[in-house]
């Protein structure tokens, strides 16, 4: 079929002519799109067309980059590897202000992952995130793909945390705590780290604490995974200290439960480190429990009331803010039910009949474990986490 629509030589010559003389960004973008489109119709000129696309994008600016992104967004199995590679290479010139192009890139990477080209997609967004300091939300689709694939998630999170770049680490945190997979468990991908090097393991563990702290189950699972994979006892002790503080001392609930569930499958050395952690935690909490009430230290009633007023106002503000962003509230009318456990409505079918519908009301709740130091030493924990986040590899 393709050969029937082969373009004539005059078309190629015209495209090459314009390419050599024209500097207009729009025109160069059009050449790139046209040339990429012609590949489907004339396999005999693939190399020539790829060259045309490559040069047009290279010569062009924002529009040409947008064209490259949109060509990639339609990637399929038939698209030549060479073209994909050349287009990917141009994407690092994207203007981060151009949300449309960024969205195209996001979609293109999503398509590449669907085609099994994980490395190409991840390398591309990794380079973009590092170079352009892009926020994770910019790559919503592709990050969602990563979240759905446990192996890919483990690999990406390990790799990006270990990279140490602040934007990559933030994106790694988004992956484990973003809306699609809050607090998911994560394992270290051993292919991404040399576990015989204790310094690397400790570096990774600190980044886990620094960046995944607000997702304590993710942090606990990953720290435990580091602990299980490290080779020497000294490093195990160092990782154990990080599991104890800042992790478990802040989150004695679910993260500890997860570690307890997984301890049996751990080696004797790891179990020993976990036992030491348990002892330290028991001692710490036992000391706290031993303190009777000291009413002299309680805040006054006036202070409690002032705080409740302040807190209610903050909750109301955040509720209104969340409402503004809600997709559902845009689609439906809001009705407030003052009484009852079910909602009774009559739906009119247009033929004079009203059908009774009774909808039982459901409870919705979100559980969130709050780090204890947010109250006991907020600045200390922020300082510690900032140190972990800013830490660089020891050479």
């Amino acid at each position: 079929m393709r050969s029937n629509n082969k373009p004539s030589e005059a078309v190629y010559a015209a495209l090459e002519g314009i390419l050599s003389t024209d500097t207009c960004d729009d025109m160069l973008a059009t050449i790139a799109r046209t040339a990429a489109n012609l590949i489907k119709h004339d396999l005999s000129q693939v190399d020539r067309l790829i060259d045309l696309v490559d040069k047009a994008v290279e010569k062009g600016e924002d529009q040409a980059i947008n064209a490259a992104a949109s060509i990639l967004a339609s990637v399929d199995k038939q698209m030549p590897e060479e073209l994909i590679e050349k287009l990917l290479a141009h994407l690092n010139r994207v203007n981060p202000e151009h949300k449309g192009t960024i969205d195209q890139i996001d979609y293109a990477m999503h398509r590449l992952i669907r085609l099994g080209k994980m490395d190409a997609a991840i390398n591309t967004i990794e380079a973009l995130i590092v170079a352009e300091n892009l926020e994770p939300a910019a790559f919503d689709s592709v990050l969602h793909d990563i979240q759905r694939d446990t192996t890919l998630l483990n690999k990406t999170v390990t790799r990006w945390l270990l990279n140490g770049n602040a934007s990559l680490c933030r994106t790694a945190a988004f992956l484990v705590g973003g809306r699609h997979g809050a607090n998911v468990t994560v394992e270290v991908d051993p292919a991404e780290i040399v576990m015989t090097d204790g310094r690397e393991a400790i570096f990774l563990a600190r980044k886990i604490c620094g960046h995944l702290f607000m997702n304590p189950v993710s942090a606990a699972s990953m720290l435990l995974s580091v602990l299980q994979q490290v080779q020497d006892n000294n490093t195990r002790i160092q990782i154990g200290k990080l599991i104890l503080n800042p992790l478990l001392i802040n989150y004695p609930g679910k993260p500890q439960k997860l570690i307890n569930e997984r301890r049996k499958s751990s080696s004797a050395e790891v179990q020993e480190v976990l036992r030491q952690i348990d002892m330290a935690l028991d001692e710490y909490f036992e000391a706290l429990r031993s303190i009777d009430e000291i009413p002299e230290l309680y805040p006054s009633e006036a202070q409690r009331e002032a705080y409740h007023r302040y807190n209610s106002r903050k909750i109301e503000e955040s509720y209104k803010e969340a409402e503004k962003k809600s997709v559902l509230l845009g689609l439906f009318t809001k009705q407030t039910l003052l009484y009852g456990r079910t909602s009774v409505n009559y739906i009119h079918d247009g033929q004079g009949k009203a059908h009774r519908q009774e909808i039982p009301l459901q409870k919705h709740s979100v559980e969130f474990e709050f780090p204890r130091m947010a109250q006991l030493d907020p600045l200390g924990i922020e300082h510690l986490l900032a140190m972990f986040r800013a830490g660089r590899r020891q050479e």
């Binding site: 303190i291 009430e293 000291i294 309680y298 302040y310 947010a374 109250q375 006991l376 600045l379 922020e382």
Partner: protein
Amino acid sequence: MKLIIKEYLASLREREELDAVLPDLLSQMGMNVFSRPGRGTRQDGVDVAALGSIDGDEETVYLFSIKPGDLRRPDWNSASPQSLRPSLDEIQDAYIRNRLPKQHREKKIKICICVGGDIREEVRQDIEGYKDRYSNEQVSFEEWNGDKIASLIESYFLREELLPEAARSRLRKALALIDEPDISYKHFAILVDSILGEDISKAAQRIRAVRQLSICLWILFAWAREQSNLESTYRAAELLLLRLWNIAREYAGKKNKTAKSIHSVYRSVLNTYLNVGNELFSKSVLPHSSKIHGLSSAVRGSTSLDINLRLFDLAGRTALYGIWLLWYAHTFQEGSDHQNVLLETSSTYADTLKQLVNNNPILLLPIKDDQCIDVALGVLLLVMNGDQDSIEGWLANIIDRAIFAYRFQYPYPCNISAYHELLEHPQHDDTYQQNATVGSILYPFISILAAMIEAHELYAAVKSFKHDKLQHCNFQYWYPDDSSENHLYVNDEIHGANLSGIDVEAAPEDLLKQVFDECDNMRQFWELTAVKHGFWPLVLTACRHYRLPIPLHLFREYWTPPKVDDTDPVADTDAEIR
């Protein structure tokens, strides 16, 4: 009211606690108390001895043997040194023969069995038998139980004519609202105002007023202790120490009868303050300061702001109490057992303060600039204990955290004092940040201490913080001036002088010259009656209670060798500052 007093008497736990009340009561009844409870044990069975007449009876010598709470069988006759019968024997065998002043030996003598509660039926027969056996023409026995003492206290201190209903009502409210310390304290403060605001121009009126307040504080203490909440009592005790000094200072250095009475009651209030402190700290601080996050968790606040406010307050109180103990130790004979015990206890408070800071990291950064007052009290206690390393460690942490918080917009020390505004602190705009840090005593204080202890890195850190971020902030400090003596103890007016523009960017020696030269210009500190008459920790108490910076004069004393100067106004004091 009588029930309240009786309840209070019954709750007194130690013999010394009843000792503290009885002499004042007897004096108020017009009796001449010639033997008061001394430091240490009773004198041949007698705790208090007084001469006088009650209800128009013949002039009689009253010898009291005191027992707190109810009198039960084990308290009557056992091997315990507190047992009553051996004491009564001792009074007759030893006290009357050997210790009773000669001029009283021919007079009638009443040996009074004084109990805070009641004499239980189980010992009634024994006591009656003892009284029958040993009573004679000269010597007789009398029982003073809680009921009788309560009646006497009510008649002589708190009856309607002496304590108006409005004041009695304040006392009742202060007692009823002990679990709401702010309100309880407020009622007590109004009670103090109402009693001291009356016409007390005559000596007898003054003595009665200070005794009334002393008793009121004791009643509050006893009730608060029963309810396990000493918060309002601690604050009330500080307040009373200050307010009564405003009266006592006029009698300082005088030896007449009024002066003696006033001094005696004032000492009693001071003892109450020390008792309240001991009860509070031994329950809430000493056992828990070594536990990581222990006292922070015990605040049970809704926010870290609550923990910050409570713990800095606690650190200030702990330090101040340690300083009072150190001062108290020096009122005893040099090298005596009492002195050694108190010095050791004071040192324990210094250690406790260090543990408090080390185990509660919220103490590594004040949220309010005026929490420098609590930091300064802590530093002063550590200075007095010669612990420079701890001072440097604490202050270095404060400055590190302040720089971090200021840079990244976490709660940094600010000039805001209203709680509801602190909840909103910090807000993220430059104008707010500048307005919230218009002045500081904290940073210059840290610089001064850094210069004193030659902590060069610390000094440089404040210097560059000031240079880079705080050019808009007026680094300042407060000095007591001529007006301070009249207002320091009552806090009824603004007083003192403010040294502005303290130059922490200058060389350390120049900074010290700047602030210590001002100490020379402001020698009025040494003229404060509390300092002049040896009660210098009272100035610290006033600074803590009324939120004034701790005078640098005291720190300076520990920087340069003490001056040997015969004309030094402090030279005639009971206790030297060191």
